[in-house]
């Protein structure tokens, strides 16, 4: 494998970033869009080439030694194996489509060049994260994507709410990052290496390392993953992150960056396999997140908020699979989810674009005729996420549920997962019905301007819809291409492929029926009865709790933010004042000394001479007396 090729793959988006930052404003919007998209497309083409020519063995490319301390070496290198190629494929692939989409979507924005610059930078860091050969390289990418996420959420920085959302995302991520860093430190001190390949061999051969420390390291790394992948209890930033432009939500907050946690856990599967207790925690956290987020999504009225909570819920399902040790299943769901969630977000972006920024579903409706392509693609994606046979979501979600069912005799995880996916079907079709069916509920002016989006927006939609349709083909139960492809990555062959027995068929049937029930309830409520979600003030009871997201933000506010504010006030009122008194006092003393000392400089040469001679006498006396006291 060619080193240069990998470097081009990594640096192409970075060059795009540099171009857009420094020349973007002059170059004009069309050039900016083309350069931004092409730079990512180049990476995609190289990824395709790598994918076609990949060997079974992982390829490690060491550019140079970065840090070396005694026996502890960190190289600046890349690791190209099946996992990273797979991730690169959908990061750059979906990235290219979303860049294409953004050309049209952001065309009216005056800061389009910086938007593309940030997107390119994001792709650069995401590639760095994926192909880094050690934990530190991964951490660079990890922090970089967090930065880009911050920049893009707060892209419309003139709105203070958006800024707050950006800051929230950043701070929530920092909490997770701290966990990740601690995990890196523990792993480094335990095994004297951060390199993935050597880490794997070390861990497999090491017998004398205490299980407790491995568990702590795994837990710390998992906390890092909960921050980036929006799991309980750090998920609250993701729904707020929808403040960013819709392509950003699609690319970063649905398809790619939020899967970084899953990537990390999959990358370190050998470590997590050593810590079964942590795996249990991961599974439980994943299941809880899936359920909580799904319930919140049931009553949201903002089209993007629904999708955001849906994303959190789906990520929870992925973590459920990870916790059960079924890494390839989680990866499978990551891929299919990337397809249909990107499609859904881009579709919602198309709707918002058509309605000139309206995001409230209560003011939509009847868009089916005005936006046929958007409608059909979103419908396909919704069917896919709901898990209707034979779309992509059906296969991946079904595998997760099947794994949960087979895992142990305790079926609680399976039940929770199934309820979450029934809810998924419900809220997705609630979205579809409210948006596209019945009559239009917006203003007359909006109705007048309703139109289908231009082809730059619809083409990515169509491609993603097709992928959501057929994406399941990569891992059909029985003969899964994905499982074979990823097999070299995993040490345990714990997850043998499901033989398609009666239980499995039954589970599939239950899942499909559950999805159909969810769709049916939505159909009954929102299409047949034509219910419109009530205004904010009129929501009562359980719905109110759900609508307000279980008051999690408020709880966090009162538990963490307010005490810290109180403490800060205390420090500002008392500690800072005494500190400043101390500091200013020092200044005053110095000043006073200087004023008094100035009087010694009275300009009289005679006085200076006296001072000089007396000084000489004192020095001589000191030197003379010194010899008696040594």
């Amino acid at each position: 494998m060619d080193t240069n090729l990998v470097l081009v793959l990594l640096l192409a988006p970075f060059l795009g970033f540099l171009f857009n930052v420094f020349l973007g404003k002059k170059a004009g919007k069309n050039v900016v869009g083309i350069v931004g998209t092409l730079s990512v497309a180049v990476s995609f083409v190289i990824t395709l080439y790598l994918f076609a020519n990949a060997s079974q063995e992982p390829v490690v490319i060491n550019l140079f030694d970065w840090i070396s301390i005694q026996r502890f070496d960190i190289s600046f290198g890349f690791l190209i194996d099946q996992l990273s190629i797979l991730w690169l494929l959908f990061v750059t692939g979906i990235g290219s489509l979303i860049h294409l989409y953004s050309i049209s979507y952001m065309h009216d924005d005056e800061k389009m060049h910086s938007f593309f610059a940030y997107l390119n930078l994001f792709i650069f860091f995401m590639i760095a994260l994926v192909i880094g050969s050690n934990l530190l390289m991964m951490f660079i990418g990890w922090e970089g994507v967090g930065l880009c996420s911050y920049l893009l959420i707060g892209f419309w920085y003139k709105n203070q709410n958006f800024n707050d959302a950006a800051k929230k995302a950043f701070i929530m991520n920092r909490i997770g990052d701290l966990g990740f860093l601690i995990g890196i430190f523990i792993v480094g001190s335990l095994f004297n290496t951060l390199d993935f390949t050597s880490l794997r061999t070390t861990i497999e051969s090491a017998k004398d390392v205490s299980d407790l420390w491995i568990a702590i390291a795994a837990l710390a790394l998992f906390i890092g993953a909960t921050g980036k992948s929006a799991q309980l209890p750090l998920y609250t930033w993701l729904p707020d992150a929808m403040a960013g432009p819709t392509p950003v939500s699609a690319l970063i907050h649905a398809a790619t960056m939020v899967t970084a946690g899953i990537f990390m856990l999959t990358r370190l599967n050998f470590l997590f396999d050593m810590a079964p207790s942590v795996q249990n925690i991961i599974a439980i956290v994943g299941a809880c997140t899936a359920l909580v987020a799904a319930t919140i999504a049931l009553v949201q009225n903002d089209i993007k908020k629904v999708l955001a909570y849906s994303t959190v819920s789906q990520l929870g399902l992925m973590f459920l699979a990870l916790g059960l040790g079924a890494y390839e299943v989680a990866v499978f769901h990551v891929i299919t989810h990337a397809f249909f969630k990107a499609c859904l977000f881009l579709g919602s972006g198309s709707v918002i674009h058509g309605l000139h920024g309206e995001q409230d579903m209560r003011k939509m409706g009847g868009l089916k005729k005005a936006m046929p392509i958007t409608f059909i693609t979103m419908l396909i994606a919704s069917l896919a996420i709901a898990g209707i046979f034979p779309l992509a979501g059906f296969w991946s979600k079904d595998e997760i549920l099947m794994t949960a069912f087979n895992h142990s005799n305790n079926k609680a995880l399976w039940v929770v997962g199934s309820i979450a996916s029934i809810m998924t079907a419900f809220y997705m079709f609630r979205l579809i019905y409210l948006t596209f069916f019945n009559s239009f509920r917006g203003t007359e002016e909006q109705k007048h301007h309703l139109h289908e989006s231009p082809s730059l927006i619809t083409v990515p939609l169509i491609i993603l819809a097709i992928l959501s349709f057929v994406g399941g083909a990569i891992s059909l139960p029985g003969h899964s291409w994905l499982n074979d492809y990823l097999a070299p990555l995993f040490t345990k062959v714990a997850h043998e492929e499901h033989t398609l027995g009666s239980t499995e068929y039954m589970l599939m049937a239950i899942a499909t029926i559950g999805a159909l029930i969810g769709i049916g309830i939505a159909y009954k409520k929102y299409l047949k009865d034509n219910t419109i979600p009530s205004e904010d003030a009129e929501i009562t009871g359980l719905s109110k709790v759900l609508y307000n997201k279980y008051y999690v933000d408020e709880i966090y506010d009162s538990v963490f933010v307010k005490p810290i504010n109180l403490l800060s006030d205390l420090f500002r009122e008392h500690v800072e004042k005494s500190l400043s008194a101390l500091v200013f006092g020092l200044g005053k003393v110095t000043n006073e000394i200087a004023i008094q000392g100035k009087k010694a400089h009275n300009g009289s040469v005679g006085f200076y001479l006296f001072a000089f001679v007396i000084g000489v006498i004192v020095i001589l006396t000191y030197l003379f007396l010194q010899q008696f006291f040594i």
């Binding site: 001679v613 006396t621 010899q627």
Partner: protein, 180 residues
């Protein structure tokens, strides 16, 4: 350590030394004390001459001559010229306040005390016998060899220093043109 001089059995050289020392100290004091600048200069000339006598006593003839030429012949003449140039031969100097004069005397005593204490306490390196090695270490020949071999570079630098001083003196004392 301090020997009380045996006046009765004093050798001629000792008497010479005492006389020269008295002259030196007395004229030095008068140099400071006298009010007229011209008298100061004259007293200083006598003081330096007696120091040249000390050099001769120490058998350092070349040094004695150089001292005469440089100090008396050059420096003192320069000072006399300056005094005459400024027309300073008047008793118009205001005395310093009494506290200053008192301070000066106290400092004088202190300085004497400290320096003498230090020198008396220093440990002699050579023993007191002063054996003559036969080598004439003070002749002009020896000095010249030393100066032009070992101290070649400082010697040249001294000449450069004098040149620079000459140029500087000319520049400093030149009357500045009043620029309009």
């Amino acid at each position: 350590m301090i020997q009380i001089p045996d006046i009765a059995n004093a050798t001629p050289i000792q008497i010479l030394f005492c006389v020269l020392s008295v002259i030196t100290l007395a004229t030095a004091f008068l140099t400071i004390y006298s009010k007229k600048p011209m008298h100061n200069a004259i007293y200083l000339v006598i003081c330096f001459t007696s120091i040249s006598g000390h050099y001769l006593l120490l058998n350092a003839q070349f040094l004695a001559l150089v001292n005469l030429i440089v100090y008396i012949g050059a420096i003192m003449i320069l000072m006399l010229f300056t005094i005459m140039l400024m027309n300073l031969n008047k008793e118009n100097e205001v005395h310093k306040p009494r506290i200053t004069r008192l301070g000066a005397i106290v400092v004088f005593c202190l300085m004497c005390l400290v320096l003498i204490a230090m020198f008396m306490n220093s440990k002699p390196i050579a023993d007191g016998s002063y054996d003559v090695t036969g080598e004439d270490y003070q002749s002009i020949q020896v000095l010249g060899k030393l100066l032009l071999n070992e101290y070649m570079v400082p010697f040249e630098f001294a000449s450069v220093l004098l040149l620079v001083a000459m140029i500087g003196a000319v520049l400093l004392s030149k009357k500045e043109k009043i620029e309009k």
